[in-house]
Symmetry: none
Subunit: 232 residues, 2 copies
DNA sequence: TGGGACACGTGAAAC
DNA sequence: TGTTTCACGTGTCCC
């Protein structure tokens, strides 16, 4: 409120010392990049230059009848926001040596690229590497293994999936297992079930993930285990 | 807080061509953060030579006269570099709706955070998956296990033995595996071999120990692994 | 018409 | 010393 009164004397155009430099804005037109902002030759309307001292606050408005200092206030706010985000960005980039804006941007770009690459390779590794998951077993000290059936194990290689189930021999357990697998958008390629000892069953399934479907080994194993448990 | 500061220094923001403004540096103090220099191979599409127009503008410059135009050019170059990096950064951030600088920075920050989080969870997933690795592979220490083919796993139930072998698909590997098993005085009851992915083979064998013969799971697994390794 | 975004030139300050 | 980076106010464009 009172601010507007305090700076009534905006009276711009103080540095018309080298006004001839301004027609260089024509050249700037082709320097400008990306966003299609075209600078016009800038007619540069000559305002009646009259420098007013600070004591004189005659509020006359030549052309710019708009708010004179809301503009600079808004610009300050914009700069402040930008600076804050620069700081926030620099806080996220590790090993930042130089803190100037260009370096922050440059290192952030490099770091972002490396992160994208890392995510890519990690995702590949997760889905393509051979991994066992979700063995519900506990090793005791003797090297023996206590079996908490059902035991489910899966490994991925791209879209191929190998699933092993070791469970108690029960009627319809094979059908139930295959149905569970199919519910995960897996196309069964091959399967075998072998009896082991007196009451155990060892099921092996090779399947393929349907296109556009991805899930983690962990989820698959957990879902199969909990699904089979309901049958036990 | 900041508003009071801004209002308080509102007045000294005016300018005349003289050298009379000094307290401007006071308010700069809390925002300013200076930086070292940095140079990089930059395309610099346009040198933008400042050619002298017919209406030469050299005059006055009471005291300064140091480098009036190099400064402008340097600043232009700096801005150009910054803008270029903004464009490069915006090209890396997917799903960018608004293209203004603040949005680019903000979205880049959010994207960077999400990538960091993703890397973290992915790395966790990979290591956790490795922790769960079962008995068959090489290194037992620290709960970690190296995933080295061939993987061999065996379990006993009385005289019954279940053996699983996951190995590279090679000719005669099944026969070799069965031969190795038989050398351990194991009578093969049932067996199956399933191809998995492009070059893997998953063999499951159910056998029975011959009378009078006993050995530990560990010995059986190790012998099978070393025997199969010679084939790889 | 008014607020948001941008590039500009400029003075100051950090090496 | 000069080179480099910064924030500032400003004009202008664009919704």
């Amino acid at each position: 409120m009172e601010i507007s009164q305090l700076i009534g004397m905006e009276d711009p155009y103080f540095f018309n010392s080298q006004w001839g430099l301004m027609d260089d804005s024509v050249n700037m037109a082709f320097i400008d990049h990306a966003c299609p902002v075209f600078m016009e030759p800038s007619p540069t309307p000559r305002p009646s230059k009259q420098l007013k001292t600070s004591s004189d606050q005659q509020q006359q408005q030549p052309i710019k009848t708009s708010t004179p200092h809301d503009h600079i206030l808004a610009e300050r706010k914009r700069r402040e926001k930008l600076s804050q985000r620069f700081i926030a960005l620099s806080a996220l980039v590790p090993g930042l040596k130089k803190m100037d804006k260009a370096s922050v941007l440059g290192d952030a770009i490099k770091y972002l690229k490396s992160l994208q690459e890392k995510v890519k390779t990690l995702e590949e590794e997760v889905t393509k590497a051979n991994v066992f998951v979700g063995k519900s077993t506990h090793d005791d000290e003797g090297g023996r293994t206590l079996l908490l059936l059902p035991e489910v194990e899966a490994r991925f290689w791209g879209k191929d999936v190998l699933i092993r189930v070791h469970c108690e021999k029960k009627s319809s357990i094979v059908e139930e297992t295959l149905a569970l697998i199919q519910k995960h958008h897996l196309s069964i390629i091959n399967t075998t079930a072998m009896a082991f000892a007196t009451s155990a069953l060892d099921i092996t399934v090779v399947a393929q993930m349907d296109k556009e479907f991805t899930f983690t080994i962990k989820d698959l194993v957990n879902n199969l285990r909990t699904g089979l448990k309901r049958f036990m």
